[in-house]
Symmetry: C2
Subunit: 312 residues, 2 copies
């Protein structure tokens, strides 16, 4: 079997791949070839990893190709292709870390971990009593997640051990519990936590009237795009102490200007757009490929098949 890797993998991820390739598999890395030799090497692929230019598929996929592992979550550039082979993407590979930052950020707010971290940096011992009477719990909270995509699903899964009531909002997803702005607005007074996972196309969705419909003491968390939240309205209710706090991985303007009041509001945690990250990212992508190769080899179902595979 011949594997063509278009992904620009790190040196260590290449070693990681080569060490674990199934017996009888050869591999060519596009990065080792001059640019004008890459397309012909692509044409010889039996398995493809990575996201080559869509134009390369203009005359159809490589003749021997029987599996394509896209190395991103998105695959909009390839939507027009009709391929008769299985195609998988990275599934919730990028979504899961965002969700961990959200859930970790919420637990951190309830348990006052940011405050304790700052005290630790000053070597100040305050002891249990200082925090205990103000500490809250994630347990049993009523949560609305804006968006039912991979991040929203991962958030719901991660919350499953905390006895929370979780509702997802998505306009067209039948599995979501809320579908319209009106339904959301009606739910907000009985909601303890709102988690925004919306894409940039939902510009301005969480508008001032929705911010104002939130329950007193409730928490807003966002790993969606910065333009999806009415930030001035949010800031106003945080400053007034009406809201209980916020975990913001994104802001409307990044870097956040030094004079923005969000920097110093109590119960606001700024995670500075770190949500999607994970160490050894290339190695982990290789692991996704290797897992699917193993599934192919043993006739098990592939993971994270995407709609391009309709013909398969």
């Amino acid at each position: 079997m011949h594997l063509f890797v278009y992904s620009p993998l790190s040196v260590s991820a290449r070693k990681h791949l080569q060490k674990q390739l199934p017996a009888g598999t050869s591999v060519t890395f596009a990065n080792d070839l001059a640019v004008d030799h890459q397309f012909s090497a692509f044409q010889e692929a039996e398995v493809l990893m990575g996201n080559p230019p869509p134009a390369w598929f203009a005359a159809g996929p490589p003749p021997l190709l029987h599996f394509w592992q896209i190395d991103s979550a998105g695959f909009e550039r390839y939507r027009h292709l009709e391929l008769n082979i299985p195609v998988a993407n990275m599934g919730d590979f990028f979504a899961w870390p965002c969700a961990e930052t959200m859930v970790g950020g919420l637990l951190a707010l309830y348990r006052h971990l940011p405050e304790l971290a700052v005290l630790q940096s000053q070597k100040k011992w305050v002891g249990g009593a200082f925090v205990r009477n103000r500490a809250g719990l994630l347990r049993g909270k009523r949560v609305v997640v804006l968006g039912s995509g991979a991040i929203g699903q991962a958030v719901r899964q991660q919350l499953s051990g905390f006895e929370c009531q979780v509702q997802l909002l998505a306009r067209t997803d039948a599995q979501a519990q809320l579908h319209t702005k009106e339904e959301l607005k009606a739910a907000l007074p009985e909601t303890d936590i709102v988690i925004n996972t919306l894409p940039g196309s939902a510009e301005g969705f969480f508008s001032a009237d929705l911010v104002q419909a939130m329950r007193p003491g409730s928490i807003y968390a966002s790993v969606g795009r910065g333009n999806t939240t009415d930030e001035p309205a949010l800031l106003k209710l945080l400053q007034a102490g009406y809201l209980g706090g916020a975990v913001l991985d994104v802001t409307a303007i990044e870097p956040l200007p030094a004079d923005n009041p969000l920097w110093s509001l109590p119960n606001v945690l700024l995670t500075q757009h770190t949500g999607g990250g994970q160490a050894l990212e290339d190695e982990s992508k290789v692991d996704v490929l290797l897992h699917n190769l193993e599934q192919l080899h043993t006739g098990q179902p592939l993971e994270n098949l995407v709609e391009l595979s309709r013909g398969y």
Copy 2:
């Protein structure tokens, strides 16, 4: 029905109780009575909330008593009593917050939230790239929990959404996966996270040889008593960068002395014995009582029945 409340409830928790008492229920608070009138009021209780002196039961329970809600997790002082009525304790009421501090602390370490909180206190924008390549995930980690009591159970439940493999260690609990120090030592090289929930009676249990048997890069978290960990051995391997980090709600000496290196080690989060806390603690205790009264009233099973109820 007559309720006798021995618990020294806050003013707001008393109001909370009185507002929600089932119709036809009267209530007496021990705190409203002179000390020498309390015992006779206790004798008239049909429902009892709180932890009165064990000697009050010397001649048997109050004749009309049919339910006793203990307001703590522990009830060792009452073990010798034989009562023919249901008795409930607070279950994981104090354990759950400890577990949230542990799981929140672990997520915080993996997502670098303490570092981000300190940067926020300095209004320093670093942006995603600064953290993303170092960030880890809780997902799929192999976890050993020392202790299978209420905290250990709560930790396991909270981890259930993160695809972790969780093993509990307890000498005599048949439902635990590990039972001896030897089994633990054998498991540590394949363990990513150790969470200590041991009571003070397990003094010195996590000894230097166990610390040294931990996997390189693995994380130690403790909400157990400070005397159950060999702290110098732990500190040494944290300083050497052999371990990946630690979340410590407890230390051998509290307050932690200013010259202790734990204060300033990267990847160490000190939560300063705040783990067990929660706001509105008295109100929440009242909620546990009210829930059980409702269960009694509708003939549903009571929650958190304890062994004193064997005769029931």
